[in-house]
């Protein structure tokens, strides 16, 4: 259950050129505020909208193709997701570029925060001659998928509804504890272990699982960082992830 007294903070993520700004503007209208992320000149845009008695705050993350630690934008996006604890990630997916966009989606999902996908630029996909079955996609990914055409303002209500349903759901978990058991009652979908998990192959998975277990058994680390995400990042050789663990060890 969403903690009634706390603010509903939704992080808006997505790749560049996915129409993220347009969706952001569509949802927040004029209620926006632009600042700077500390120490860097990347814009931090926050906005608000009201829907059915609730006020939702949207934080626009920098557009990134991935979540490595190689670029300042990626680091900022990750930082926010790890430390500011948004309760939902709104992932803007370019329908005409599905494969590449899913690459980011998977990494977002690993962060242990519930996902809502806006399948944007549906009109462009149509012009290119293909159509996406949003129900099928939702089923495969295990998250709500809302088709949108940001430039025409389509999907606004449905998106707000999906976000609301997600944080009001009985199975909503904000901690990095157990994921939803997947009875499917909340969103009319069947799922196994919550949202989709990438299978990293038979050579890698055992190693990842063992690290996952070690990390979730560790009292300090398990509280701070999602085990799955951290184990994948560490195996990737991600320098920032390495540093996060190190500084925790040093008691910072």
């Amino acid at each position: 259950m969403k903690n009634r007294s706390s603010e509903v903070i939704v992080a808006v993520a997505g790749q560049p050129n996915s129409g993220k700004s347009t969706i952001f503007n569509m949802l927040t209208g004029a209620r926006q505020h632009v600042a700077n992320y500390p120490g860097i000149t990347v814009e931090k845009r926050t906005g608000r909208y009201g829907y059915k008695e609730d006020t939702v705050t949207l934080v626009d993350l920098p557009g990134t193709y991935s979540l490595t630690s190689y670029s300042p934008e990626e680091r900022i996006a990750r930082d926010f997701l790890l430390h500011e604890k948004p309760i939902i990630i709104l992932d803007i997916v370019d329908a005409s570029n599905l494969e590449r966009n899913l690459y980011l989606t998977f990494q977002l999902a690993e962060m242990g925060i519930p996902l809502v996908i806006a399948l944007n630029m549906m009109d462009v996909a149509e012009n290119r001659g293909f159509e996406i079955d949003k129900n099928k996609l939702s089923e495969l990914l295990g998250v709500p998928v809302v088709p949108t055409v940001g430039s025409k303002g389509r999907g606004k209500k449905e998106l707000k509804e999906a976000i609301l349903n997600t944080y009001k759901s009985d199975h909503f978990q904000t901690d990095y504890g157990e994921a939803c058991k997947g009875c499917g009652a909340c969103l009319g979908m069947s799922r196994e272990k919550g949202s989709f998990r990438v299978d990293y192959g038979e050579k890698l998975e055992p190693i990842l699982s063992s690290f996952e277990k070690r990390l979730s058994d560790d009292p300090e680390l398990s509280l701070r960082y999602p085990a799955r995400w951290l184990s994948v990042k560490l195996m990737e050789g991600d320098s920032e992830a390495h540093r996060l663990v190190e500084s925790l060890k040093r008691g910072e």
């Binding site: 991935s66 005409s96 570029n97 494969e99 590449r100 690459y103």
Partner: protein, 74 residues
């Protein structure tokens, strides 16, 4: 054989990305993985960079980077 060796307008398939560090990661992030089909669309008016088509979208990289992508002709 690398991306640089493929003629304009032709397609090829990626064998391996032989670049490390940020560049290699970036290319992988953008979809340059073994088995992916890539089409050389065109060169810039001054030769560099080169416009490629893969996974249904267009991306431009420098010839220096293309040199590090091993491919097989289709």
């Amino acid at each position: 054989m690398t991306l640089n060796d493929i003629k304009l307008g032709c397609e090829c398939r990626i064998v391996e990305v032989n670049l490390g560090g940020a560049t290699g990661q970036r290319l992988m992030d953008m979809g340059f993985t073994p088995g992916t089909k890539v089409k050389i669309v065109r060169n810039a008016p001054l030769v560099d960079p080169v416009n490629l088509l893969l996974r249904g979208y267009h991306v431009s990289i420098r010839h220096n980077e293309a040199k590090g992508v091993e491919v097989e002709q289709l």
